[in-house]
Structure formats: C-alpha cells, structure tokens
C-alpha cells in the first residue's frame, strides 16, 4: 500500500503501471505533510485509518480491471497533413506532448536517417532504458530528439554516451527525474571531441552562444521528456523547475587548467573523449576580483559554498566547483593541487549548526548523523560533502574573476563514460565525424 499526498498521486499511479502493478492500493492524504504541525498530520492519519484497513483487506482486482490508463505504446511515425513546418506543425507537435515548449526541428525521415548514420549504429539498437517510464531509448528515438533539438549527426556518439551515463545506476535517474529538487543532468565534455564538435569551454560557456552546448544539452533534456516520460507537473515534481532543465552542457577548459582534467582524474587517456553527467542545480556565481593569494581566494570561495538549504549539507553529495582559469591559476601558483582544493572545501566550507532551524538540527542532523552532530555545540560546522574526495573541481570559463558553485542533488553520483565508435572502441580525432 502507498500512503501519498495529493500532488504525488499521478506519479505514484504512473510508476505502479510501469511496474505492472496498477492495482497496488493507494490512500491519499491531503497535502502538505512536511513542514506542518504534527497534530494536523496525525489527524490526517486517523481520518484515513478505516480506508487504509479496508483497502488492504479488499479482494485483489485484476490488473486489467483497474481503472487506469494503459501503458503508452508509442507509434513509430506520425503523419500530419501540413507542410507548414514552423506554424501548424509546431502546434501539432506540442499537442502530441513533444518538446520543451520551444520550436522543434521537425523529425522527418531524411533528418532522422542522417542522424542515425551519425551514430554509426543500427537505428533499432538499444542505447538505454530511461527512467522513470523505463522507456527504450533506441538510436532512432534518440536521433529523433536530437533532430528536434537542432543537433547535427556528428553529435550522436556523444549523445549516446550521455544517455548511457545517465542510465547508470549510481546516477539514480529515477530520483533525478521525479524529485521536487531542481536538479538537471549537467553534461561535461572532456577530450578532443569537445573542440571537434564546438562544445565551448571558455567565456560564456553556459550560454547563450553559437556553440554545440545548447543543442546537446537540449537533446539530453528532450530524451528525458520523450523517452523517460519526465513531463513536468505530474512526473517531474520539481517545485520550481530550473533554467538548467532546458539544456545544461559545457566542456572543461583543459587548455587553461593548471591541473589534470576531470577525465584524466577518472583514468581516461588524453586522446579519449568523455562525457560526465552530474546531477546538479543551476550554477551560483562566486565573484572575487580582489584576492591575489590562494588562501584569501579560497576563503571567498568556501564562503559561497557554505550555505544552508542546499542538498549537499543534508546528503552524501558531490558538490561541484567550477573554477575560472584565472582563479585556478591564482590557487595553483602557490602549489595547490586539485586534491588540496578539495580538502580546503571539505574542511573550511562548513555551515555552523546555529544557522539551521531547530527542526533541521534535530531531524536532519541529530537523527541522520548522530555521531557527527549530536551533543555538539551550535558552532559545530556541517560539511558540504561526506568525504573530501567527493568534492568535484573543474576548470571552466574564460577571462575574468568569476567562478561558479553547482550544488548537487545528493541522491546521485556523477558518471563518466568514454565516447565510443560503433565497434566499441573509444572515438579518437583521427576517426573523424559524420558530416551533415
């Protein structure tokens, strides 16, 4: 039996259908449950008690007899009687539930065929099952979203790797797609493919700009909507949503970094290209134009990172620091390695318990981390990671004294995969790219 509050009914029903158990009994309690006086919550339980017992003990209906929508059975093609690509056809595609609300490049046979060729894989090859719908993302379905997003065929190998990375269990795509938190998969590209595809790593890399960042990020989002079924409101339960959910893709500025790249840290050779997916919030700026030494600059950075209200203080997350090349150079000039930066963030970016409400201190910290915080002074600091190794450091951006902090979801681990050729070996620059 599921006890759920009102706004989550459709998500629960959809998941029960996907799991093949639409007849699972549900009892709906009036929302909200959290953040309300306990007396009221317990009264809701009392009011629902008879229904709970009755539904647990009533005969099990056949799945076919349960009033619920059948599982979606997507067609392969949709015929539309208009050639008005940027007018009537756009309205038709919106009516089909396709897209992110922005105009879509119509996924015609010719365009999708070209995109499939770009992948170098059969159109019916399975890329991954995409949560929460557990939709089968074949190369052709991915190619359709890629066309709609404005991608080129050359983007396909990278998109295949990104979708596979999101489907890896540690990424927890089910949680990423359905949480109330404003998390979006940030795709970070490393290696020579970034330059070959025009994935921008320098000034203004989060956009806007005439680079591949926008269309790659958008194609990833369209796959999450079209294949994963992560439609906002009913399934994607993000309270606020996020501009990052329209598209969130960058490259690491390896040329301007004084340190090994993210891919190198994860064991990939310099001529292998990778995608890393990080379940993160939209980035928050860190402005420091004045500090000329590593210590004071890191103090400014840790001051921005150490904030209440982010998931990283509550859970075992991987906070992501995006250092601008100039900030990274200032820090590295005094001999700091990436690991040194990680240790500083872990040790210094702490939020004193007194900055949290008493309810959060008691419920979040005393109960979940009793050894660390129970019976501690209110001056005790809450870390933004459970281990210093979990802090991620990436160099990105162009000229200027602005770095960024990306708080992460907490119930997700970043995943890095190589971009592969059709034969399963890593793509390398001499392999070239499909044109078109």
């Amino acid at each position: 039996m599921l006890l759920i509050s009102t706004p989550f009914v459709k998500l629960a029903q959809a998941q029960a259908r996907i799991l093949g158990m639409p007849q699972v009994p549900t009892v709906v309690l009036p929302h909200p449950i959290g953040g309300t006086p306990l007396d009221g919550v317990l009264a809701k339980v009392d009011a629902a008690f008879d229904e709970i017992v009755a539904k647990l003990t009533s005969p099990l209906p056949q799945a076919s007899a349960v009033a619920s929508e059948p599982l979606p059975e997507p067609v392969d093609h949709v015929d539309v009687d208009t050639d008005d690509e940027w007018g009537e056809l756009q309205r038709r595609m919106l009516a089909l539930g396709w897209g992110d609300g922005l105009p879509l490049v119509p996924p015609t046979d010719a365009r999708v065929d070209a995109m499939v060729r770009g992948a170098g894989l059969p159109g019916d090859a399975l890329v991954a099952l995409v949560a929460p719908r557990m939709g089968a993302c074949t190369v052709r379905r991915l190619a359709s979203s890629a066309v709609m997003a404005g991608c080129r065929p050359a983007h396909m190998p990278l998109l295949v790797a990104a979708v596979r990375a999101m489907a890896e269990r540690p990424f927890n795509l089910y949680g990423v797609q359905t949480t109330t938190h404003p998390v979006a998969p940030l795709v970070i590209v490393n290696g020579p493919l970034a330059q070959a595809l025009g994935v921008h790593a320098g000034s203004g890399l989060f956009g806007p700009g005439p680079w591949s960042n926008g269309v790659i990020g958008r194609a990833v989002r369209l796959v999450l909507l079209h294949v994963g079924g992560g439609q906002p409101v009913d399934i994607d339960k993000a309270t606020m949503g996020s501009p990052a959910k329209y598209g969130y893709c960058i490259a690491e500025n390896e040329a301007a970094s004084p340190w090994p790249s993210l891919a190198a840290e994860r064991g990939f050779a310099a001529d292998v290209s990778t995608v890393t997916v990080v379940g993160g919030e939209a980035p928050h700026n860190i402005n420091d134009h004045e500090s000329t030494r590593a210590g004071p600059l890191l103090a400014m950075i840790t001051g921005t990172v150490a904030q209440t209200g982010q998931n990283n203080v509550y859970y075992a997350g991987e906070p992501l620091l995006l250092l601008s090349p100039e900030h990274a150079a200032t820090i590295a000039a005094e001999g700091f390695s990436k690991d040194d930066v990680r240790r500083v963030i872990y040790e210094e970016a702490r939020v004193p318990l007194r900055r949290f409400s008493q309810e959060n201190i008691e419920r979040r910290f005393w109960r979940k981390f009793p050894k660390r915080y129970r019976d501690r002074s209110l001056d005790a600091g809450v870390t933004v990671a459970q281990r210093w190794e979990d802090v991620m450091v990436v160099v990105a951006g162009g000229a200027g004294k602005h770095s960024m902090y990306v708080p992460t979801f907490g119930a997700t681990r970043s995943v890095t995969l190589p971009v592969l050729k059709a034969d399963g070996s890593p793509w390398r620059p001499q392999d070239g790219l499909e044109q078109g």
Binding site: M1, Q23, I33, A136, T180
Partner: protein, 92 residues
Amino acid sequence: MRLNSPEGRPVPPGVAVVPRPASLAGLRIGLLDNTKAPVDEMLAHLATRLRERIDGVEVFHVAKQHPSLPVEPEHLAALRANADVVINALGD
C-alpha cells in the same frame, strides 16, 4: 509530412502481485519510511492505531537511507522475510 516519434516504448520489469489478506488480524505489517519529515512520527502513530484496533497485529518500521534512493537490499530482505503487508509512506 511524416514525423518520427521520439517517444520510447516502456519496458516493464514485471512484478508479481500477491493476493490481499481478508483481515489484518494476527498479521505482520511492515512500515516503510522514506525519511521525509515527519513520516516517522506519522508511521509511529499509524502503528499505535493498528495495534490498538487490530487483534494480534505485529508492526515494525523500516527507514530508507534517502527518500530519493531505492530501498536498501537489507531492508527489502527484512520486509520480504517478516512482513505480510507493507505500507509505504511517500510523505512530502
């Protein structure tokens, strides 16, 4: 004009559904807590009511590590082994 659908066909994992009991009397009820506030107090209250009103019922409480992660294998095994009925509270 012919458009290619970008939608993915669901691949259900397939779950067997057991019959429901005619009565909760004497049964073991597992309460699965997603750890969102205040589900623990809510389920403790439900456990009290179940014990008060249902003869011979046994109730036990299992809490996930994180509301957005799947239930841990050891908790799932405990529910399988010790519960006739499971109530999963998805509070928010």
